[in-house]
């Protein structure tokens, strides 16, 4: 199959030429279908931003403020910060850039069947493990099997479940006499080794977003000999080698020789843990103790812009802070209560007091307006009278007393919560805020009946919906379970045609607004800040840092 082989690519081209879709949508979709980014950008007639910059300075040290958590099991990561360290030593199969365009990583190209069920991945041939040996199809299959093994506990499982995994009954019975179920690959041949450098994914359902899934942050390619564990000296294909790790303090990486890809330009990268608190991060950056901050709360932006040496990079994202209820717990199991919680909110007002220019108005359905599969719905309006009425109908004429939990950091989360709480007062929903220590909340965020958490950016709406609201998903914190929703979601995931997919997405979004378990007032912008001396810097919407692209001026 040639790169032009997917039948929908010509359709996309004509759509672009006719002006039915914009360049962004063309780029996004055509690359996913296997068109190379270079070709796609050339056709779209815009310069390819990912082209390597000339004359990058060499050497030096790059210090980035970021939490340094335990790195033991990269496939089980649930924080992008941890993956950002492993990312420097262990590559991914694909790379989704800051422009949301997915490019080849360890696989140099991919092809997909017209039904979107068969994906052929061509592994790059010149990639060597640091300790020796080629990176091969076997390595890919081992890694994918590892992340898809329920025992691993990777969130990749949730992402790929719909097209790679089935549940099977076992001989064992549980307490109630029902057979215990196990999840495993839906078919023995689901991960097929074609040759030493070719892997084929045979999916049970159509899926467009496979290349993006492969870049999901826990899916770094580990050496099978390391058995899924990561530590000092673990093998990798990446541009750096981990030479020092003090959890809670710092991680030091040294550039390796003979990296297959771009860079690295700097000699060492240091990730420095300054805690969750934004204060020290700002202070450290202001006094040039660090060259960049991986994740800055929007609060800090005005202060940072004030610093002469700071270059603040921003990205419009589909990341958002979401207040969600446990769909199955009273009083939230009453649809009218959930609706009242949404109707009480004036999203614009919330934006104004919390995020200001650091975000945009949300529509309570968690499908980002910047994403290719976003469907525009009629504006969702605040309606206090209706909210009160719904509450009364639901049996709460005197309002409700609730407690919402959230974490302390990033600081915009408690701020958003406080802004929401202030508005809920108007409809008689009295909410107490329980701000929990961040680490503590991260451990129990799915357990609180009414909670608030930030969801990271994902490049497709269906990815987020699939992770967060599909029945039975491990990250389905709201315990949302709606067969119609699940069905439509699967349908969307298998629809290549953008228009058709948007139509399905519109239905999904409407279900979220009507029945959904969330109140999502705003979208975040994502910021990263680097010292002006850091060249090649940019903000990645998923808070990723790829240090091989950065250089430091002396």
């Amino acid at each position: 199959m040639s790169s032009e082989s997917h039948p929908y690519i010509p359709v996309l081209r004509s759509n672009l030429a006719e002006g039915k879709i914009d360049r962004r949508e063309f780029l996004r979709t055509s690359t996913l279908l296997g068109l190379s980014a270079t070709a796609a950008y050339a056709f779209a007639g815009v310069p390819n931003p990912a082209r390597a910059q000339a004359n990058m300075p060499k050497g030096g040290r790059l210090r980035i403020s970021m939490r340094v958590y335990d790195l033991k099991s990269p496939h089980r990561f649930n924080a992008t910060s941890a993956s950002n360290i492993v990312r420097q030593t262990n590559d991914f199969l694909t790379v989704t850039g800051a422009d949301n365009v997915t490019r080849p990583g360890l696989i140099e190209k991919w092809e997909v069947s017209p039904d979107l069920k068969t994906w052929t991945l061509h592994v790059r041939k010149n990639v060597k493990w640091r300790k020796g040996g080629d990176f091969t199809a076997d390595d890919v299959i081992w890694n994918l099997k590892h992340v898809l093994d329920p025992a691993t506990g990777s969130s990749m499982l949730g992402l790929m479940r719909s097209y790679m995994i089935s549940e099977f009954e076992t001989a064992e019975k549980d307490d109630k006499g029902n057979p215990k179920k196990v999840s495993r690959l839906w078919d023995a041949n689901a991960l097929q080794k074609v040759d030493s450098h070719t892997v084929r994914l045979n999916c049970k359902a159509a899926q467009l977003a496979v290349p993006e899934h492969l870049f999901h942050y826990p899916n770094s390619m580990l050496h099978p000999a390391d058995g899924g564990e990561y530590k000092l000296g673990s093998d990798g294909t990446g541009p750096f080698e981990l030479v020092e790790l003090e959890v809670g303090k710092k991680a030091v990486l040294r550039a390796r020789q003979g990296y297959w890809g771009k860079g690295p330009y700097v000699d060492t990268v240091e990730f420095i843990d300054l805690g969750d608190d934004p204060g020290p991060q700002l202070a450290a950056f202001a006094s040039r103790q660090v060259d960049g901050i991986q994740l800055i709360s929007t609060d800090l932006v005005p202060s940072l812009r004030n610093l002469p040496h700071a270059a603040v990079y921003e990205q419009t994202t589909a990341g958002a802070g979401v207040a969600r209820v446990h769909y199955d717990k009273p009083p939230f199991n009453d649809k009218r209560v959930r609706q009242a919680l949404r109707l009480a909110i004036d999203c614009q007002k919330i934006l104004d007091v919390t995020m200001r220019d650091a975000g945009s108005v949300g529509e309570h359905h968690h499908v980002g307006p910047t994403l290719p599969d976003y469907a525009k719905l009629p504006p969702y309006k605040q309606d206090i009278a209706k909210a009160k009425q719904l509450l009364a109908e639901a049996g709460h004429p005197n309002g409700l007393d609730l407690t919402i939990s959230c974490r302390k950091e990033p600081s915009q989360e408690p701020q958003l919560v406080q802004a929401l709480v202030e508005q809920w007062k108007a409809v008689g929903i009295r909410v107490t805020v329980n701000i929990m220590p961040t680490a503590e909340y991260n451990r129990i965020w799915t357990e609180v009946p009414f909670g608030f958490i930030g969801w990271a950016h994902r490049p497709l709406g269906i990815m987020t919906l699939g992770l967060a609201y599909r029945s039975g998903q491990s990250w389905n914190e709201s315990r949302y379970s709606n067969p119609e929703f699940d069905r439509l979601l699967s349908e969307a995931e298998g629809t290549v045609d953008l228009e058709k997919r948007k139509a399905v997405m519109a239905k999904l979004e409407a279900i979220m607004q009507d029945d959904g378990p969330i109140i999502q007032p705003v979208w975040n912008k994502m910021y990263q800040v680097f010292d002006k001396k850091v060249k090649g810097a940019y903000a990645h919407p998923s808070q990723l840092v790829m240090c091989n692209e950065f250089a430091v001026e002396a």
Partner: protein
């Protein structure tokens, strides 16, 4: 001092005295110390602010109006932000005014609880002596072996952050200190002849502890209470600062500082004013304690 028989009378014959009069004369003696008067003025200022918060605060402390408004600027509705607005557009002045309530409710209640526990335990330990003393002293030593802030965060971490738990933590952490002071004074006072006189006329132990000994220990205890109230104010603020304080949006000075300190660089008003508020209250209490110490020493 004139102590002659012919000195003018204070009250009518046979008066079995009023405790109130004694108290008033005690307060009157504050005038002897200018530093105590300044302290009292500062503390009273905050007490009045707390009591009349709804009347004094120009806006709701939780209303989000105009983020980052600078001091002296106006909001969209023409509201004047005298001390500016915080990052969520809430009036800093109103939050400080309501924050005084939080501080002046929790700190005194917590201190009072510590005192109830400490005074009773101290009286028992000092008066009963023997195994009661040993036991209470050991328990006190044990609690005091934990650094206070560690004790606070362990308790708050274990039982969660709420007003009640903060009071509990303060009581537990400060009680033994109060007990030690009371015990020390009881050991001194119990050897005075008037205690023996009460014993030989068959007064009960409770009468002796509370009616004979305790009133004589009030001077140093009031001084200590002022200082301790200052510490507790700082402790509650510190908990707020560490993110273990009272849940927002109840304004709480420590929490305000914690929430807004990252803006100190360009919007110092958000953080400097609450810092000044908490420092001034503590300063007032320290002044008061200082002045009272002088007065108690002179007495």
């Amino acid at each position: 001092m004139t102590t002659g028989i012919d000195a003018p009378e204070r009250s009518a014959l046979g008066g079995e005295e009023s405790r109130v009069a004694g108290f008033i004369s005690g307060v009157g003696r504050l005038r002897e110390s200018p530093i105590a008067m300044i302290g009292l003025a500062i503390v009273l200022f905050w007490v009045l602010v707390a009591i009349f918060a709804p009347l004094l605060a120009p806006m709701s402390p939780t209303a989000t109006i105009r983020p980052m408004a600078l001091p002296g600027t106006r909001g969209p509705g023409g509201q004047l932000f005298l001390l500016g607005a915080d990052h969520l557009g809430r009036d800093v002045l109103s939050r400080i005014i309501y924050g005084a309530r939080t501080v002046l409710i929790y700190a005194p209640i917590a201190t009072a609880c510590a005192y109830v526990v400490g005074v009773v335990a101290g009286l028992l330990a000092g008066y009963r002596q023997g195994w009661v003393d040993d036991l209470l002293a050991r328990i006190g030593d044990l609690i005091l072996a934990f650094p206070a802030l560690v004790l606070y965060i362990v308790i708050i971490a274990k039982f969660g952050s709420s007003g009640l738990n903060i009071i509990l933590a303060v009581t537990l952490a400060s009680g033994p200190g109060v007990m030690r002071i009371v015990r020390g004074m009881v050991l001194d006072i119990r050897n005075r002849a008037f205690v023996a006189a009460a014993q030989v006329r068959g007064e009960s132990a409770w009468h002796i502890m509370f009616a004979e000994i305790l009133p004589n220990a009030t001077g140093p205890l009031i001084v200590d209470a002022c200082l301790r109230l200052g510490y507790v104010t700082i402790a509650i603020g510190t908990l707020g600062f560490l993110g273990l304080g009272l849940p927002p949006p109840n304004p709480d000075w420590g929490g305000m500082i914690s929430e807004t300190r990252q803006f100190a660089m360009i919007f110092p008003h958000m953080v400097v004013f609450p810092c000044l508020a908490v420092s001034s209250l503590v300063l007032g209490l320290n002044f008061l304690a200082d002045g009272l110490t002088d007065i108690v020493k002179r007495a």
